[in-house]
C-alpha cells in the first residue's frame, strides 16, 4: 500500500523546470555564433551555461520541496478504512475550485486501465475528505439513474392527460350535438314562434272548426224535427182514414139494412118482387163485403197508427238524447278549448324559458371550450421539460464515457443551457416564469395581417 501511495503521488518533472537550462544553452550557442570562437566568448558562454544549470537545479529543488509540502496532507488523508456512504444532498454544487480541476496531462495514461477506476475512486474519496463540504461524490451517477425515471414519468403524465382529455372532448362533442338538436326540435315544434300570438291564432282556428261541427250536428237535428213533423201529419191522415173506414162500415150497415128492407118488400110483393129479392140479396152480399173491407181497413189503419205512434215515440226519445249529446259535446269542446289555451300559454312560457336556457348553455359551452384547451399547453410544457431532462441524461452519459477515455471533464455552461432552454419555449407562461417577474403583457388574442 505504501509503495502504491508513493507511486500515486509521484509526478514527472515538468518541462518548465528545465527552461533556465534551455535558455542558457540557447544563449550560449547564439553568443558563439554571433561573436565567433574566441577565448573571451568561450569564457562568457561557459559562465552563462553554469549559471543556467545552477538556476534550474535550484528551481527543481524548490519545486520538489513545495510538492512534498502540498502532498503531505493528501498522503495522510489516504483512507485506511472505506469511507461511509453519504446521503445524496439536493444542494446545487458550486463549481470546483481551481486546484481540483484535473491537470492537463491526465494521470490515467501511466496507470493500468483496470486500476484507473480504483485510482479515481481513491483520489475522489481523498478529495472529498479534504473538501468534504463542497462535493457530493456520486451526484453524476445518482442523477444518471434518477433522471430517466423522472423523464419517463413525465411521459406517462403527458400520455394519460392526452388520452383523458381527448376522450372528454369527444363526449362533450356528443352532448353538445344532442343538446343543440333537442333545442332545435323543441323550437320547430312550437312553429318557431315562441310567443302567445301564434298559439292564440291556433286555438281560435280550432274553436271555429269545432263550431262548424256543432252547427252541422244542429242542422241534422233540425232535419230530424222536420221529419217528425211529416210523421205527425201522417198520424193526422191515419185519423182521417179511420173515419173513412168507419164511414164505410156505416155505409155497409145502412146498405145491409136497405137490403133487408128491400127483401122484406120483395117478399110482400110476392111473385112480382122475385127479381127485386135477387137484387136485394146481391145488395146484401155487397154490403157484407163492404162491411168486411171496412173492418179490415179499420184493422190495418189501427196497426199503421200503432206503428207510427211507436216510431214517433222512439224518435222523440232519440231526439232528446241527441240534444243532450250535443249539449254535452258543446260543453266538452268549450272545456277542451279552454285547456288548450292554458296549455298554449304555458308552452309559450316554456319555449321562452328554453330559449333563455339555450343562450345560457351556449355561453357555458363557450367557456368550457376555452378551458379544454389547457391540455395542449401543458403537453407542450411537459415535452420541453422532458427534452431538457434527456439532454442532461445525454450529457451525463457523455461525461461517463469521457471518464473512461481519460478525457478531462469541462464544467457545464449553465448560462448557455438556460438560454438554449429558453429558446425551446413555445408558451408565454414559460418565458415569463423563466425570466421571473418579466411579465410581458399578453399580446392581443387575434392579429389580422
Amino acid at each position: 500500500m505504501t509503495t502504491s501511495r508513493a507511486d500515486a503521488l509521484t509526478v514527472r518533472m515538468p518541462l518548465w523546470l528545465l527552461s533556465p537550462l534551455l535558455l542558457g544553452a540557447f544563449g550560449t550557442v547564439t553568443l558563439l555564433v554571433a561573436a565567433g570562437p574566441a577565448p573571451r566568448t568561450w569564457l562568457a558562454a561557459v559562465a552563462l551555461l553554469s549559471l543556467s544549470v545552477v538556476l534550474s537545479w535550484r528551481s527543481r529543488r524548490g519545486f520538489q520541496s513545495e510538492l512534498a509540502a502540498a502532498t503531505a496532507p493528501l498522503q495522510e488523508a489516504l483512507p485506511r478504512e472505506p469511507l461511509p456512504e453519504l446521503a445524496p444532498a439536493l444542494v446545487a454544487p458550486e463549481p470546483p475550485p481551481e486546484s481540483i480541476v484535473p491537470p492537463a496531462a491526465c494521470r490515467c495514461q501511466d496507470t493500468a486501465p483496470e486500476d484507473v477506476e480504483a485510482r479515481i475512486r481513491e483520489a475522489e474519496a481523498a478529495v472529498h475528505e479534504a473538501y468534504a463540504c463542497r462535493f457530493i461524490p456520486n451526484l453524476d451517477e445518482h442523477s444518471a439513474r434518477i433522471l430517466p425515471l423522472w423523464a419517463e414519468q413525465i411521459g406517462l403524465v403527458q400520455a394519460q392527460t392526452e388520452e383523458a382529455i381527448t376522450s372528454l372532448t369527444m363526449s362533450f362533442t356528443e352532448i353538445v350535438r344532442r343538446l343543440t338538436h333537442t333545442i332545435e326540435q323543441s323550437q320547430a315544434l312550437t312553429g318557431g314562434k315562441a310567443d302567445e300570438r301564434g298559439f292564440a291564432e291556433l286555438s281560435r282556428g280550432a274553436e271555429e272548426q269545432l263550431g262548424e261541427v256543432i252547427r252541422s250536428l244542429s242542422a241534422i237535428l233540425a232535419l230530424k224535427d222536420a221529419l217528425f213533423e211529416s210523421i205527425q201529419q201522417l198520424t193526422g191522415f191515419m185519423d182521417e182514414l179511420k173515419e173513412m173506414a168507419e164511414d164505410v162500415g156505416d155505409i155497409a150497415d145502412q146498405t145491409r139494412m136497405l137490403a133487408f128492407n128491400a127483401s122484406i118488400e120483395a117478399a110482400r110483393a110476392g111473385d112480382h118482387g122475385r127479381g127485386f129479392a135477387v137484387v136485394a140479396g146481391e145488395v146484401r152480399k155487397l154490403s157484407e163485403r163492404s162491411g168486411a173491407i171496412g173492418q179490415s181497413i179499420h184493422g190495418r189503419v189501427e196497426m199503421v197508427n200503432e206503428a207510427i205512434v211507436k216510431t214517433v215515440q222512439d224518435a222523440k226519445r232519440f231526439v232528446s238524447q241527441d240534444q243532450e249529446a250535443i249539449a254535452t259535446a258543446n260543453e266538452t269542446i268549450s272545456r277542451v278549448i279552454a285547456q288548450f289555451n292554458t296549455a298554449a300559454l304555458s308552452l309559450g312560457e316554456s319555449s321562452r324559458m328554453l330559449q333563455e336556457e339555450g343562450r345560457v348553455i351556449q355561453q357555458e359551452i363557450s367557456s368550457l371550450l376555452v378551458s379544454m384547451q389547457f391540455q395542449d399547453r401543458t403537453g407542450q410544457i411537459l415535452s420541453h421539460v422532458r427534452d431538457d431532462m434527456r439532454k442532461l441524461i445525454g450529457l451525463l452519459e457523455d461525461y461517463a464515457a469521457k471518464r473512461l477515455r481519460a478525457e478531462s471533464l469541462p464544467s457545464i455552461d449553465t448560462e448557455r443551457w438556460l438560454d438554449e432552454l429558453k429558446g425551446t419555449y413555445s408558451t408565454h407562461e414559460q418565458a415569463a416564469l423563466h425570466d421571473e417577474g418579466q411579465k410581458e403583457a399578453l399580446a392581443a388574442d387575434i392579429t389580422f395581417f
Binding site: 379544454m372 395542449d376 392579429t447
Partner: protein, 122 residues
C-alpha cells in the same frame, strides 16, 4: 352546401375543441395531425379555410404554410395560424409566409368564429 375548414394541430383534444366550435356554426371540419398529414388531406378536396398550429412534429406550421402557398389549387385559401406563440418575431414570420391571421391559444370560440367568417372563401 356547407363550407369545409381544415384544422392542423398535433394535439387531438385541441382539434376536437376547434371541431366542436366550427361544426356548431355549420361548417364541415377536416382534421390533420401535422403538416405532412395536412398536405395529403389537401389532395383535390375543396377547402375554404385552413387553421394551422405552428409547433408540430414532422412538419411545422410555417413550412406547411409555405408549401400550401406553392400549391396552385390552394394558393388563395386563407390560412389562420393558431398557436401558443405570441412573440412578435414569430408573428412576422407567419405574416411573411402568407398567413392571414394569428390567433394566440387559448382562443375564444366567438372570436374564432368572427375571424373565420371574415376570412373564409365565399
Amino acid at each position: 352546401m356547407s363550407k369545409t375548414i381544415l384544422i392542423v394541430d398535433d394535439s387531438a383534444s385541441l382539434r376536437q375543441v376547434v371541431s366542436i366550435t366550427l361544426s356548431n356554426a355549420g361548417y364541415e371540419v377536416v382534421q390533420a395531425c401535422d403538416g405532412q398529414d395536412a398536405l395529403t388531406k389537401l389532395d383535390g378536396r375543396k377547402i375554404h379555410l385552413i387553421i394551422s398550429d405552428v409547433n408540430m412534429p414532422r412538419m411545422d406550421g410555417i413550412t406547411f404554410l409555405k408549401q400550401v402557398k406553392q400549391n396552385p389549387g390552394y394558393r388563395f385559401t386563407p390560412v389562420i395560424m393558431l398557436t401558443t406563440e405570441s412573440a412578435e418575431e414569430k408573428k412576422k414570420e407567419g405574416q411573411a409566409a402568407g398567413a392571414k391571421a394569428w390567433v394566440v391559444k387559448p382562443f375564444q370560440p366567438e372570436q374564432m368564429l368572427v375571424a373565420v367568417q371574415k376570412l373564409i372563401l365565399p
